[in-house]
Symmetry: C2
Subunit: 414 residues, 2 copies
């Protein structure tokens, strides 16, 4: 079918209002919003009965397989505001040798989010947030980032013709810092962590009127991220997997998927079965794990955060209670894994099944292994790991050898 | 629809035989082949009347949007031999600001092949070649590469459980050399160019029985690459663009697309209209351009080849006459562009339209600009550029600034 069908036909949207995720307080749609009065994320609500009447699985199947096929469950009202760079559905890659090696006997799939624009799952959230910002007249945005979100924002801001100012920790992966600037944004390296960068953005928003694109501080990134859940359900024939392992920094994707499953049930596309949701963190930065184990509703800042998986080096998350709620309701857990286990997972799965994961993706595999070892899930469970970015964005070891073509070559020894 | 439909249903294939691309000499299918007796590439031939009777556009539209939906026009007979890593259709990205800036008034689209497994178009050819090698019992393969082909081979060989030995020029982009090894292949840096590496592979094939995976030296990479043409036709509603700009090293993709268009016409999916095919090379390595301009059928080796676009640093191509034939039949041209123009194109399109191209992709934009300036195509022509790999695989400039969060920040100056 024509590639641009989802982007050339205006279709109705079904947004009714927004509401505070903590108090339920109601906010009007089609206005610019940050956090709620209670300082918590806003969630977008839809007329799901209307969606149920308007959308069938067959109608969906006849649309191009990109994020915009979910139009009835998305907030953008006018197609002309969509700043697309081709957000195609990401593939589910089977990892049979990896599963066998660590003792899983069910299907093990990696959802390879590195195949999105700017090579990470951040594209899903940012294409939605930038499209909505464009729809609502924003011209200048700012964001703290560990790298991938900033890259996605820069690219979509370029498409939108919007000014983007981005702050990242000084030790953010080099390729991220460079791609942000290449895509036309101004990027600053800050001596601190992502929440320190967030404080600068907050101050700039006050002083200069920047629109604050921090995770969950505007309501639409979560709507983009929830398409991971919508897409996964359809790809698996409308039967959700038994468990999802999700690398959790700000947690937008986990919260978004949980919301997506609820919406899919309400429009009659799936039943009440849910996957166990596993929020995966690094041992050096595990605020959700600590709060989960302590039975707390909120997660205080994790001091001295450190891990090689920079995408999940998030000491404090404004959506903490939403993450913890989803994990608990699902019967899942928050799990921390070591940097050594992360590195080993990345190495092993590339060698065994040909998929080069990012460190955060590797963390999900390490957590799956822990969950198996500790009996948190059945060995034959059907499991989906989220590889949230391309492994090419991260340093790889040099394992090459050199060969002099002018010298005699011992082919038996190669 | 379920994500794995194309990979779980065995469907008939229609291969009848192979033939020498120069002499037309016939070779049996289902046997291991290298070059023909005349030392030229073999082409796979199908019972296209049979395909025409078996395949409709509607049937096609009901299949998942990956490379394997073209099954009737592909050589793999048994689904179990397919070594997939999720070869999804790549998006067509509009470049409206770029078009306006350089004076094009028609639609300008980039086909973003960086979204395939291992982040380059090489995945298309290698998934087919490795699947066929598996089907035909090969267990050990070797290849010369400028980087991306080796990365794709390594990944698919890992899936197939096949041994892969890979040789690349010493100055191959660092990330390529490292990803090849990470995906389980043995990789050697050689003091020479890709054809020097090819000579080593040829010798190893003789001495050790390695199966030679050099460009066009086995018949199936071209069948994978031709899916670029099949996919493009479908994405544009079965109407081909006016011009295609293709970065040309070994030229498999250009030859493959030309073959695809012919097959599509024979099964009644498109008419006789063809795009002008532009083979794009770098000024420092332009054997096809030289032969095209001299009216030659074959292209001698280009000495002292050099360009920042390493993927098209191919001094000599075994499919030279096929490339030149397609370019001439189409009314297109072979064009060379400077490294400066390539770098400028990459920089401009990222800033203007948010797409980070690889240098070879940048070369196609620079060539499009030349074709406009020289009146080789109409200003309102509908044009497709092939961005053959993710721009993230190549060095980017550091344009970041640093910011001390402990010092007072002048927000107006940021």
């Amino acid at each position: 079918m024509r590639h641009d069908l989802n982007l050339t036909i205006d279709r109705p949207t079904f947004v009714t209002h927004l509401e505070c995720s903590l108090t339920g307080e109601r906010y009007e749609a089609d206005r610019l919003h940050g956090l709620s009065a209670a300082g918590k994320p806003l969630l977008v609500r839809y007329d799901l009965d209307g969606v149920k009447a308007a959308l069938t699985k067959d109608a969906l199947a006849a649309r191009p397989m990109d994020l915009w096929r979910w139009r009835e469950l998305l907030p953008v009202r006018h197609t002309k505001n969509i700043v697309s760079l081709g957000e195609q559905a990401t593939p589910l890659i089977p990892l049979p040798r990896t599963a066998a090696r660590i003792g899983g006997s069910g299907t093990l799939l990696a959802k390879d989010e590195g195949r999105l624009p700017t090579a990470s799952f951040k594209a899903r959230g940012l294409v939605m947030a930038v499209s909505m910002a464009k729809e609502l007249g924003v011209t200048q945005v700012a964001m703290p980032t560990n790298g991938n979100a900033g890259a996605a924002l820069a690219a979509y801001a370029a498409v939108a013709g919007m000014e983007a100012i981005i702050f990242c920790p000084a030790d953010t992966p080099e390729v991220n810092v460079r791609e942000i600037a290449a895509q036309g944004a101004r990027v600053y390296r800050v001596n601190g962590l992502i929440d320190d960068c967030g404080a600068i953005v907050g101050e700039g928003a006050k002083q200069r009127g920047w629109f604050d694109f921090s995770t969950l501080k505007e309501p639409y990134r979560i709507e983009g991220k929830k398409t991971m859940g919508l897409e996964l359900a359809e790809q698996l024939g409308w039967e959700l997997p038994d468990a999802i392992f999700y690398p959790t920094g700000g947690g937008t994707g986990l919260i978004g998927m949980w919301k997506a499953f609820d919406e899919l049930e309400k429009i009659g596309f799936i039943g009440s079965k849910r996957p166990k949701m596993f929020a995966v963190q690094a041992e050096g930065c595990a605020p959700m794990v600590r709060a989960f184990e302590a039975g707390e509703e909120f997660a205080p800042r994790w001091e001295n955060a450190h891990t090689i998986a920079s995408g999940i080096r998030v000491p404090r998350a404004v959506g903490d209670f939403l993450i913890l709620r989803a994990v608990r309701e699902s019967g899942g857990a928050a799990l921390a894994v070591s940097d050594e286990a992360i590195a080993a997972a990345v190495r092993d799965v590339a060698r065994d099944d040909g998929l080069l994961m990012c460190p955060e993706g590797g963390a999900t595999l390490a957590a799956y292994q822990r969950a198996l070892d500790e009996g948190l899930i059945a060995r034959d469970a059907r499991v989906v790991l989220f590889n949230c970015a391309s492994g090419l964005k991260y340093p790889l070891e040099d394992q090459s050898r050199t060969l002099d073509r002018h010298a005699p070559i011992d082919f038996a020894a190669l």
